[in-house]
């Protein structure tokens, strides 16, 4: 599905991501963890095209996506959520999802004018389903800015799914959530996998990532220091040192 080869991104002298090799297989849930500033969010920005690569190649479904701008990568099937929530605050919940329906599938199904200038009738069921998945059906006419924090996170997820992604990049989706909310998020992630969505989960909250990921890669100072099943990662001395410092 996704294949990063020797991917690097330097900001001046800072090597935010340096020679990263990462593979995500079809239908997998891969966790990407690491201390603050280890290059996790930069990696997401490189995959979506928000930042240009310094060097290396990213293959998505066998194709080099380096030259594609962000909106074309989305059409190809890569959607994301943001670590610091970026909803369209002055648009309603419904509009946030509606405006994100830009998948190739939608483009094939509806003509240009019906997609951009047509009414809501043709998409009503689909958006209702997405809102129900996010537990937001009753808030559909609320402005996104007026939602509670947890609801905003769920709306970000629903908005990302509106593009019918094949690969979903979740950038710290559990940040600031309580353990009940984390439990619900875990259920949502698992149900997405059952629908065939591949997930790259960037996360600080070990409770979540250890519970759902098939495989975990650990970043430190822009480099991958370990990769393996959750149990192996928990036992890895290098990982413990990166997180806890010293010689643990």
């Amino acid at each position: 599905m996704l294949d990063l080869r020797q991917v690097a991104r330097h900001f001046g002298g800072v090597r935010a991501v340096d020679g990263l090799e990462l593979t995500v297989g079809d239908g997998e849930i891969v966790g990407l963890i690491g201390p603050n500033g280890s290059g996790k969010s930069t990696t997401v920005n490189l995959i979506t095209g928000a930042l240009p690569l310094t060097s290396g190649v990213i293959y998505f479904r066998g194709r080099d996506i380096g030259p594609l701008p962000t909106h074309l990568r989305l059409r190809a099937g890569i959607a994301r959520t943001f670590q610091n929530i970026r909803l369209f605050g002055q648009l309603t919940v419904w509009q946030n999802v509606w405006v994100a329906q830009n998948s190739l599938e939608d483009r094939a199904r509806r003509g240009f004018f019906s997609r951009w200038l047509g009414g809501r009738a043709g998409v009503r069921d689909e958006i209702t389903q997405l809102l129900e998945f996010g537990g937001l059906a009753h808030k559909r006419d609320e402005l996104a800015a007026n939602l509670a924090f947890g609801e905003q996170r769920r709306l970000e997820l629903a908005r990302a799914l509106a593009a019918k992604p094949k690969l979903l990049l979740l950038d710290e989706p559990a940040a600031g959530m309580n353990s009940e909310e984390i439990g619900q998020l875990r259920e949502r992630i698992v149900s997405l996998r059952q629908r065939g969505v591949t997930i790259l989960l960037i996360e600080h909250v070990m409770e979540l990532v250890m519970g759902v990921a098939d495989r975990i890669a650990v970043l430190n100072f822009g480099q991958k220091i370990a990769e393996g099943a959750p149990a192996e990662i928990q036992a890895d001395p290098l990982v413990r040192r990166a997180y806890l410092g010293g010689k643990a």
């Binding site: 928000a50 909106h71 369209f88 951009w116 200038l117 047509g118």
Partner: protein, 300 residues
């Protein structure tokens, strides 16, 4: 009565000018180029009726197309600059257009007089309306047909996914791209539609004043174009209309009795209006209240 018809003409033209800035503002772009597009539409339509002898309607259409094409051409380089830099870049464009018309001569003899644009002297004798015997009322109605068509179009946009995408880009460009919106297409299309609207407004303006010159399209006009949607609020096209009526009918005409005090009060009242209603006269809350009142009236 003619006074009120004349005022309605003025309000109509300025509404088009304001709406041309409204759609561009929705995408978060602050453009001072609208007076330039207004000028392109005015000169193009004027030359077509006066020099080529066309009917006004096709002349307005061509004026809108030329103006839209100009706006589209401005839209692409404008993508590379944001915020204050865009303000300066579009200001420079507007001034370039004004100076072009300051130096633009193209006159032909018609009977024993010469007609057409003559540099700093301006473009006189745009006499389509008087030559065809249209009265003030007819001219006003003709103009308002265009104003209402444009308002209906923008009102429809606001309800469509296109309008939602414009607002999404205005709110957060990074997020908009991340959900698959083509930033270039959205920004340039908004600029182009804005250019077409300004072009129609300029064509109408040229014909009802019968005389245009470079100073009719200066920075003050560009500022008014921006001020209308901002004072009126970006929630709805009606905000712009209300702001034009507030400024042109109330502040400028209504306070005429006050003589020199008017200019002072004009500025003060604009500042007061913006302080009392920082999100525009017709903000989200006012619009929601109106909507509720309207639906209640219908149900009762």
């Amino acid at each position: 009565m003619d006074f009120y018809f004349g005022l309605a003409q003025l309000v109509g033209v300025h509404t088009l000018l304001g709406l041309s800035a409204y759609i561009v503002l929705l995408t978060g772009q602050v453009s001072l180029a609208q007076a330039g597009f207004f000028a392109v539409g005015a000169y193009t339509a004027g030359m077509l009726t006066v020099l080529a002898g066309w009917h006004l309607v096709p002349a307005l259409g061509i004026g809108a197309i030329v103006s839209a094409a100009t706006a589209c051409a401005v839209g692409f380089p404008a993508l590379r600059v944001k915020g204050l830099m865009l303000v300066i870049a579009t200001l420079a464009f507007g001034e370039a257009v004004r100076l072009f018309f300051f130096n633009f001569d193209y006159q032909i003899a018609k009977g024993d007089i010469k007609v057409g644009p003559l540099g700093g002297e301006g473009f006189r004798q745009i006499r389509f309306f008087p030559e065809n015997g249209w009265g003030t009322l007819e001219v006003m109605l003709f103009m308002w047909v265009f104003v209402l068509l444009v308002m209906a179009l923008l009102w429809w946009f606001d309800r469509s996914r296109y309008g939602t995408a414009l607002r999404a880009v205005g709110e957060d460009e990074v997020a908009a791209q991340a959900v698959g919106i083509n930033l270039t297409a959205i920004k340039v299309s908004a600029m182009t539609v804005g250019g077409a609207i300004a072009g129609i407004g300029g064509g109408l303006y040229a014909h009802y004043t019968t005389h245009i010159e470079h100073s009719s399209f200066n920075i003050l006009v560009a500022t008014f174009a921006l001020a209308y949607p901002i004072v009126g609020g970006l929630q709805s096209v009606f905000g712009t209309l209300i702001a034009v009526i507030f400024v042109q009918a109330f502040l400028i005409e209504g306070l005429r009795e006050l003589g020199d005090w008017r200019n002072l009060l004009f500025g003060a009242l604009i500042v007061l209006a913006m302080n009392l209603r920082p999100n525009g006269i017709l903000d989200a809350r006012a619009l929601a209240a109106l909507k509720r009142a309207f639906t209640r009236g219908r149900n009762a």
